[in-house]
């Protein structure tokens, strides 16, 4: 028979295509059980530790030497060129023979675990026993946009889905009234790589990021139009339904699917604004996040929103610290000035987020990831600044089944190259997927004849921290 007996791409066909691509995919089988709503929550194919991820993206690349990776030798060698016994550095902007730059920060051990954290992050330090600090991260690119692409999508080029889109593709969303994948950019502006780093790329559009706008109405069209009450809207929707049903052809799946989206939309409209409305948060929570203090207010609000979202089952939330140019962690001119400024905005809210998640019992099921697209050089740029360094830098994870108070891997004695157990970004991705109960191979999507996946090349789970 002709496949054109039904000359439309109806909803079911679309869903089949969306999940199975052309032909059948390994992952398709996992999804047979739930083929109705592409965003419906799915059981993870592997044992999962985390249900949600909060990615705290420190755009521009925070310095490992000023945060979690103490290098006493670096301070001793300050003002000298990198000794010949070290592997020379790759640099983007530093010219000539640079001199090593010691840190002005003081490091102390914190918590029962004795984890080293610098005085740049006094609040985060109080959560030391929850952190798994990965000191041996590596990436392929040392310019912002390529490195940001790799951090978010696994590739240094545009055109591939971000980890948030992959996660929702793999697991759907636990919330019917909220988007599954949310990005909260820094109000200072778009990061260097631009918004495509967050995108669903070739994954179907239902996995696209919902990029929150600033302010009390973060999602477009979700708020009732001016002057319309909820009851009026319910009436309108009833009217739409009635008038639609008057001509509905039996068996038109597209039609019935559209009708049901109006019910879902109404549910979103009635429930989501309550999630976005943070006025009912008690004063001590606001204080904890630094809301009300002009320095921490913005990032604090976004961290609190992240908690409220994962509480309601949102799968992946990205909170960005840093926009373009000097509004990010890109401390070329003056590491002290830059990092004190950036840390002041983020440190307290981040610690608050960890504590708040913990006190609500959410930290066990929420994987929090912190880091930038690369770290910074031990060598000085222009006397006081540090250039980009993708050969050894620090990220941390907390919650979501990750061990607390541990350090994974190390860099050399000046913090330039990862030496012990280096972890390429693809290991970070593999570990995130692993904690969510997803397998890097099975989570694939047939795109132009190739089964694309987040990690591209086989990554490893960072066994030292899980």
């Amino acid at each position: 028979m002709s496949l054109h007996a039904k000359p439309t791409r109806n909803r079911r066909e679309f869903l089949t295509d969306a999940f199975c691509g052309f032909g059948s995919l390994a992952f398709g089988a996992l999804l047979q059980a739930e083929a109705k709503n592409p965003l419906a929550a799915k059981k993870p194919p592997l044992p999962a530790k985390a249900k949600s991820v909060i990615f705290l993206f420190m755009a521009g690349g925070p310095s490992q030497m000023e945060t979690f990776d103490p290098k006493p030798l670096l301070n001793k060698l300050e003002g000298q060129p990198l000794p010949a016994s070290f592997r020379p550095a790759k640099r983007q902007f530093i010219n000539g023979t640079p001199k090593l730059l010691g840190t002005r920060r003081t490091f102390k051990q914190h918590g029962k675990s004795g984890l080293w954290v610098s005085d740049l992050l006094p609040h985060t330090a109080t959560c030391a026993d929850d952190l798994a600090v990965i000191r041996s991260c590596t990436a392929d690119a040392f310019i912002h946009s390529s490195a940001q692409y790799q951090l978010f999508t696994g590739r240094i080029l545009p055109g591939f889905p971000s980890m948030g889109a992959w996660s929702v593709y793999g697991l759907g969303s636990e919330s019917e009234s909220l988007p599954g994948y949310v990005v909260m950019p820094d109000p200072y502006g778009t990061i260097e790589a631009g918004q495509p780093v967050y995108s669903n790329a070739f994954l179907p559009a239902v996995y696209q990021p919902n990029i929150f706008r600033g302010g009390a109405k973060p999602v477009l069209n979700l708020e009732m139009p001016e002057g319309v009450t909820l009851a009026q809207r319910r009436n309108t929707l009833n009217f739409i339904r009635e008038i639609d049903e008057a001509t509905m052809t039996p068996g038109d799946d597209e039609f019935s699917a559209r009708l049901s989206t109006y019910d879902l939309a109404f549910k979103m409209q009635t429930e989501a604004p309550a999630v976005f409305d943070m006025r009912n948060e008690p004063a001590h929570i606001n204080t904890l996040y630094g809301i009300g203090n002009p320095v921490t207010d913005d990032f604090g609000r976004r961290c609190l929103m992240a908690r409220r979202l994962v509480e309601k089952g949102v799968r992946f939330v990205t909170v960005v610290s840093g926009g373009p140019a000097i509004s990010q962690w890109d401390a070329h001119d003056d590491i002290e000035e830059n990092h004190l400024r950036m840390a002041a905005r983020t440190d307290q809210p981040i610690a608050a987020l960890l504590k708040d998640l913990k006190q609500r019992g959410l930290l066990d099921s929420t994987l929090v990831v912190w880091g930038g697209e690369f770290g910074r050089t031990p060598e000085a740029q222009g006397g006081k600044g540090r250039d980009h360094n993708n050969t050894g830098f620090t990220m941390w994870m907390a919650g979501g089944g990750v061990k607390g108070g541990v350090v994974e891997g190390s860099t050399d004695e000046v913090g330039l190259y990862a030496v012990e157990r280096p972890h390429h970004l693809r290991n970070i991705h593999t570990t995130i997927l692993h904690q969510l109960g997803l397998d890097q191979d099975a989570l694939n999507y047939l795109h132009q004849g190739r089964r694309e996946r987040l990690t591209e090349i086989q990554g490893e789970v960072i066994r030292g921290i899980v």
Binding site: T8, A18, F202, T249, T261, I457, Q458
Partner: protein, 767 residues
């Protein structure tokens, strides 16, 4: 009986080869590194003799003695390095297969040679017109009940012009035959806009994107809208498809001085990537082949194609066609600043740029033993025609030498004089710059005069001298300004170190300029190579050849998909062996051969499809419209659509106040209109087919967006008066209400009614 397990490799139509399972395993798991070109560790597994010989670490394996074979040991992790380097260790079963195969003596190649030759694949054979038959005889199984005239008219309008008919248009068409209506709509300029957007999807239209804060173009290019306008105009004028391919790939070679044609090369300019020439080249190769021929040549970037007969070397020979090209912006009349407005176009810049095979697709490991010349994959059609270099006319290789550019530059210089009034030093410089410019132009005209102008030397000397004088005056002016800046920078309590440094730099530059000896006069603009390689022309003619088995089929498949909602070959970008079989090859081939026979006439093809009973029949289900159609339709039915055609792309943030059609708004990975995104807007990186999701965000956009609210109110005001309900249904849904609907509608306010009709399934779908 052999202990060996065999694997039947089914590709495309049937089984054609049988190879040892172990060999197949090694191929998939090892060959990507250990191949003839890559030879990691000197080891090449692509042939039995090289595999036996082994690599830097010794012989590969000893036939009959698996356990002693190095290959086996590294796989079993009993010897180092443990293999495969990437990917999981071989399982016990897999290891057993490999061991058994080596013990058997490691038989190679096909054990049973059977099946058709590798290149035999339906899509790589030329389409043959079915002996008998029309669309309807070949497509007989579906419903033949004709749709009602109003459903059909609405379908045609949405399909061909991208918005529903107005009540007036409905009345007019009621008097016409179906064929007359089809002809009228194909002649409607809105057809080019509607179908232009389809082809913009397939051809990856994107406005520039990159670092918007710094206005830095990193991908695609400024002024891409000219290419969009070319698409719309070409479709409206009925330009043959093969001609469109030729203009897009090689407009600069076939019409080097025609700005209208040059716009077409936006197709290739769009691949521009500021920091990644390799990625740029990949996009040019991959998407040219995906878009026009539906083959995934990109798989052959790192290794021979796993499904289709495309060798890795052939991939790079295809790349050699594109290797010389780059993008530039030529001045257009009325604007001397190319950043503001210009003709973005391609040209061959690096005529001798070599192309090498990149081992494992890695730009860092070119195989420099051989420079690969341009050609096309042998299995995909006829041989590439002769490549003939093109000698370019002066206006093409020296665009600023054109009359209008000179005129405008002179006007600019005169304006600079007026602007400098009141600043003696600046005025002196500006006054000297005008005659210097005139002298440079005169010298350039003499230089390029045919026959040669004997006064050239004299004019050149004059130009040099006048330019030197003007340069000195300008340097004085700059010196004074820099000094003033310096004084200002140092003046405050805390001198701004950045401003001081900047002033110092300017001061030094100005001082240096004063003492620089003159070397020659500066040409009026940039000169480009005087020849183009002709490679892209040859490629375009090869793609657009009636002997090419793929081009017409791929195009008609795209067109069919957009008329019916399903494609004849479901994998629209992959007609290769890994793609899906056509669901109706005779029909596909009928359309393809007719398309070519008509001289690649798209409108004729549309007409053939639209006149068929298949197209006119009742459809069992509705199909969602694209976001562009939804937005345009809302504006159109409200009577608010601004029908102005063409021009620079518009900021999507102005989508509400600027009521132009949706295709005229900027569309790039950075910037898209949110309303369109909600309805699965085209992915600007690639969109061979739109998704058609049904999600609550669409309901929210229709119910709550300012657009639908405002337009409902506008339309309600316009329709006020008796008979509003009927007219509202007619205007929004193209039909009268049923009695039940009329009764329902009677209770609603006009705005609510229209708002509800915007949210009606029939408004956002076609049936």
């Amino acid at each position: 009986m052999s202990k060996l397990a065999f694997l039947f490799v089914g590709l495309g139509v049937g089984l054609y080869a049988q190879k040892p399972a172990a060999l197949a395993l090694l191929e998939t798991r090892c060959l990507s590194c250990h191949n003839a070109a890559g030879k990691q560790s000197g080891f090449d597994l692509s042939k039995r003799e090289t595999a036996l010989r082994g690599g830097d670490r010794g012989p590969g394996f000893l036939p009959g003695r698996a356990k002693e074979s190095y290959l086996y040991q590294v796989l079993a992790h009993t010897a180092k390095p443990a293999m495969p380097k990437f990917g999981p260790k071989f399982t016990e079963t897999e290891l057993a297969l490999v061991a058994a195969w080596i013990d058997e003596g490691a038989p190679w190649e096909t054990v049973v040679s059977a099946g058709p030759k590798r290149s035999s694949h339906w899509a790589f054979e030329k389409p043959v017109r079915p002996a008998a038959g029309s669309i309807d005889t070949l497509f007989a199984k579906r419903s033949q009940t004709p749709a009602s005239p109003e459903v059909l008219l609405r379908r045609l309008y949405l399909d061909l012009v991208g918005m529903p008919p107005t009540p007036e248009e409905m009345a007019r068409h009621a008097k016409l035959t179906h064929e007359q209506t089809v002809d009228a709509l194909l002649a409607d300029p809105r057809y080019g806009e509607r179908w232009g957007r389809h082809w913009m999807d397939i051809w990856r239209y994107s406005d520039w994107y990159g670092y918007r804060r710094a206005n830095e173009v990193r991908n695609s290019h400024k002024h891409m809208w000219r290419w969009r306008d070319w698409i719309v105009e070409s479709l409206n004028s009925g330009k043959p498809y093969d001609r469109m391919i030729l203009e897009m790939l090689a407009g600069d070679e076939i019409a080097p001085e025609d700005p209208a044609t040059l716009r077409a090369t936006g197709f290739l300019a769009r691949n521009y990537s500021r920091y990644d020439r390799d990625g740029w080249m990949q996009d040019a190769v991959d998407h040219t082949m995906l878009g026009f021929m539906g083959v995934t040549v990109k798989c052959a970037r790192c290794h021979d194609h796993k499904y289709d007969p495309i060798a890795q070397e052939e991939y790079y020979r295809l790349r050699a066609v594109f290797e010389p090209y780059e993008v530039r912006m030529d001045r257009v009349p009325g604007e001397t600043d190319v950043e503001k407005n210009a003709l973005t176009r391609i040209f061959d810049a690096g005529l001798d740029r070599p192309t090498y095979l990149l081992v494992r697709g890695n730009i860092k490991s070119p195989d420099k033993s051989q420079v690969l010349g341009p050609s096309t994959p042998a299995a995909l059609g006829p041989a590439l025609g002769k490549i003939e270099p093109v000698a370019l006319p002066l206006g093409a290789y020296y665009p600023d030498h054109r009359e209008f550019v000179h005129t405008e530059l002179l006007a600019q210089a005169r304006a600079a004089i007026e602007k400098a009034a009141g600043d003696p030093l600046a005025l002196a410089a500006a006054k000297a710059e005008l005659p210097a410019l005139e002298a440079r132009m005169a010298a350039e005209r003499a230089k390029y005069a045919v026959p040669a102008d004997p006064k050239f030397e004299e004019l050149a000397a004059k130009a040099r001298e006048l330019e030197r004088q003007a340069g000195l005056l300008r340097a004085h002016e700059k010196l004074q300004r820099a000094q003033a800046e310096m004084t200002a920078a140092l003046a405050g309590e805390k001198p701004d170190s950045k401003k001081v440094a900047e002033a110092q730099k300017n001061l030094a530059a100005a001082t240096a300029a004063l003492t620089q000896p003159p070397t020659g006069y500066t040409p009026v603009g940039k000169e480009y190579p005087t020849k183009s390689t002709g490679r892209r022309t040859a490629l375009a003619r090869w793609i657009g050849s009636t002997d090419n088995p793929l081009t017409a089929r791929v195009a008609v498949n795209h067109i069919w998909l957009r008329h019916f909602g399903t494609a004849l070959v479901p994998t629209v970008f992959d007609f290769g062996k890994n793609g899906q079989q056509p669901v109706n090859q005779p029909l596909l081939d009928l359309l393809a051969t007719e398309f070519m026979r008509s001289g690649w006439n798209m409108k004729a093809l549309h007409k053939m499809i639209l006149l068929s009973e298949a197209y006119r029949a009742v459809r069992p289900a509705s199909r969602r419209l694209e976001g562009e159609v939804v937005r345009d339709s809302i504006l159109a039915v409200a009577g608010e659509l601004d029908r102005t055609m063409g021009g620079p792309d518009i900021d999507p943030a102005k989508g509400l106040e600027v009521r132009r059609r949706s295709l005229y708004f900027s569309h790039s990975p950075d910037v898209q209109m949110q309303f369109l995104q909600v309805f699965d807007g085209a992915n600007p990186t690639e969109c061979y087919e739109r998704n058609e999701s049904v999600v609550p965000q669409q309901a929210l956009a229709m119910a709550n967006s300012q657009l639908s609210q405002e337009m409902a109110a506008k339309l309600a005001r316009r329709l006020e008066g008796p008979g509003l309900v009927d007219r509202a249904f007619q205007t929004v849904l193209g039909r009268l209400p049923s009695d039940a609907e009329r009764e329902l509608a009677a209770g609603a306010t006009p705005v609510d009614l229209i708002h509800a009709l915007f949210n009606h399934n029939d408004f956002v779908t076609t049936r």
